[in-house]
């Protein structure tokens, strides 16, 4: 376990993380921390390195330098599925559901690593399998019901409306039973009503499942509305960190987004 800071245990810690693609430093010396059950936002103009940081944390890329600790253990350069097994789940900027599967199966997939029997049992459909499959079905249906998708369980996931697909992606991530949920631009392409619902949903998820959430988002209304703390990136560097009101008045952030005033 990480050390206690501000009453809550540190869950994810980035320590001077740098990643270089050839001559380009996509992320340079970025450090920040997420504590248990905290809702943190990560913002920045286009190309600031937000998604790269996501991919670093989830193991899609490995950092050129620096440490990434999750739950007290280093996860830098680990295979993504191992990091997920530690309790870190994510959604994607452009929805990546499994297109050939039903809503139910999409979520069932994510229960894969919680199976208590080996693959050989699945070959023979041994006695353990039926019990496990029943348990997983209950778990999945419970999740689907919470998010109002139970009625659509046998529909192909691609036939859902856009907002529901986003929701399903969150459900699928929750099925891995994470301690930290990473949301990559969940509000992208949503209309104002959907955005308001999304904000409610994220708050609800965070409280109901006692999660920490890291949110990458372009929509300021969403970020300012729900995040406890915000990190601002620009050109791969962290330029500010603080509460929403602090960030809103930070001159560096204003400069990054709107440019400097002409003197």
């Amino acid at each position: 376990m990480g050390q206690k800071e501000g009453g809550r245990v540190s869950l994810l810690k980035l320590d001077n993380v740098t990643v270089q693609f050839g001559g380009l430093k996509a992320v340079a010396d970025v450090s920040f921390e997420i504590r248990e059950r905290e809702l943190v936002g990560l913002i920045g103009p286009n190309g600031a390195g937000k998604t790269t940081i996501f991919n670093l944390i989830t193991g899609v890329y490995s950092p050129t330098a620096g440490r990434i600790e999750f739950d007290g253990k280093s996860v830098a350069g680990r295979r993504p599925y191992k990091i997920t097994a530690r309790g870190l789940a994510r959604t994607f900027q452009n929805i990546r559901l499994f297109p050939s599967m039903t809503v139910f199966d999409n979520v069932r997939c994510a229960c894969n690593m919680h199976l208590r029997h080996g693959i050989s049992h699945a070959l023979w459909r041994g006695t353990k399998v039926a019990a496990e499959e029943a348990r997983i079905e209950t778990d999945v249906m419970e999740l689907l019901e919470i998010f109002g998708l139970a009625g659509e369980r046998d529909l192909n996931c691609k036939s859902l409306p856009y907002g529901d697909q986003r929701r399903l992606e969150i459900v699928r991530a929750l099925a891995t039973r994470p301690k930290l949920l990473l949301l990559d631009e969940p509000a992208a392409g949503m209309n104002p009503t959907e955005k308001t619902e999304l904000m409610k949903l994220i708050r609800f998820v965070q409280e109901k499942f006692a999660l920490a959430v890291l949110l990458v988002e372009h929509d300021m209304k969403v970020v300012m509305g729900i995040c406890e703390r915000i990190c601002v990136l620009d050109y791969g560097q962290k330029i500010a960190e603080g509460t929403p009101s602090e960030i809103q008045s930070n001159p560096k952030v204003i400069a990054a987004y709107l440019g400097k005033e002409v003197e």
């Binding site: 297109p99 039903t102 139910f104 997939c109 699945a122």
Partner: protein, 362 residues
């Protein structure tokens, strides 16, 4: 795979077991076709796991079949492999790398030979079909080992590139057998006892369909589909994509090896050219025509495509057909290819995709 399927498959096995002793009375030509159907079922259902469900395009399935056929035959014929040492190369220091590699290789190969030679007397000592069953499983196990070796490059390669690697593997197996003197090389291997009958063929066909169906429909099995649909998302959901890809190859290769053993102990003569690229393509066609990842569709396609070329032979003798049609059917392989083209144009998603609707798909 629900209870009904289980009962259906089991009753199939029982029926075939009951039919087995009486089979001497049916036309041997039809018998030959029926056994061919069973073997195609095993091959296609196995390959469907790799090409269909896991989405890894393998073009080397006949290689696994050939390995199984030859090694099962070698075991039941009592052929032993002579141990060999890799040649020692003269030369400068750079060659040491090759020397070390060849040493490792020769040790590994000799160890496999040693195991084989140990199994030979054991197989000979088993009465009746015991030795045959051991030979089948042995052939399957060797093919599975080869599947493991081919599964590893599949981790780095996708699509066309993987297809070429597996195709190359198929050719390598063929060429090795063509040059393997203990396996009678290019002359072909014969003299196996005809142990394969209705029962064994369809018992293994049922087993293959059962196991693959079970696996794919389980929660674990969703992992195969996840790998096919989106590898990055699969990894992010805690699915070890490496494990799934290799497992698909190993299982498919195992069943192909069994199919090879059955084939060898039915035809009683095998030749390396029988396991070439064209044979692989035949199996791939069954999988594509049945609808990739559609277990029942692929099974139907395997049955149809095994019977079709033989049926076309028959058609050319139908007196009631107009002469030009009879003549056309006489060139049956042209007609067969033409039919494949038409079927693919009409139903590119597979003949039977969308026919079988049930909960949880596939």
């Amino acid at each position: 795979m629900n209870k009904n399927t289980k009962v259906t498959l089991l009753s199939c096995v029982v029926v075939f077991a009951a039919l087995s002793p009486t089979i001497g009375r049916i036309n041997p030509y039809y018998f030959d076709i029926l056994i061919g159907v069973g073997i195609s079922l095993i091959l296609a259902a196995g390959l469907n796991l790799v090409n269909g469900h896991t989405g890894q395009f393998s073009l080397g399935h006949a290689g696994f079949m050939g390995l199984g056929a030859y090694l099962a035959s070698a075991l039941s014929l009592g052929l032993k492999f002579p141990y060999f040492a890799m040649p020692v190369w003269e030369g400068h220091v750079g060659w040491y790398v090759f020397k070390a590699l060849s040493l490792v290789l020769s040790v590994a190969i000799n160890a496999l030979f040693w195991l084989h030679n140990l199994l030979v007397p054991l197989a000979a000592s088993l009465p009746g079909w015991g030795g045959f069953l051991l030979a089948l499983l042995y052939g399957g196990a060797v093919a599975a080992l080869a599947g493991l070796l081919v599964g590893v490059p599949s981790l780095r390669l996708k699509g066309d590139y993987l297809a070429i690697v597996t195709l190359g593997f198929n050719e390598i197996i063929k060429v090795i057998i063509q040059n393997a003197e203990p396996l009678n090389a290019q002359r072909g291997l014969g003299g196996m006892v005809q142990h394969t009958n209705f029962f064994w063929t369809f018992a293994f066909a049922a087993l293959t369909v059962y196991v693959v169906g079970n696996l794919v429909n389980s929660t674990y099995g969703r992992g195969f589909l996840a790998v096919r649909d989106d590898e990055i998302a699969a990894e992010a959901m805690g699915i070890n994509t490496t494990k799934y890809k290799v497992l698909a190859f190993v299982l498919a290769a195992f069943f192909a090896g069994i199919a090879g053993g059955l084939y060898a102990h039915f035809k009683q003569f095998i030749h390396p050219e029988g396991f070439n690229f064209m044979k692989s393509v035949d199996i791939v066609v069954m999988v594509i025509l049945g609808g990739m990842g559609n277990t029942i569709g692929v099974c139907i396609a395997a049955v149809l495509l095994t019977i079709l070329p033989e049926w076309l032979r028959e058609v050319s003798h139908y007196k009631w057909l107009p002469a030009w049609l009879q003549e056309m059917a006489a060139n049956r392989m042209i007609l067969y290819s033409l039919l494949l083209i038409i079927l693919m144009l009409a139903r590119p998603q597979g003949l039977f995709t969308g026919w079988v609707k049930k909960k949880g798909a596939a």
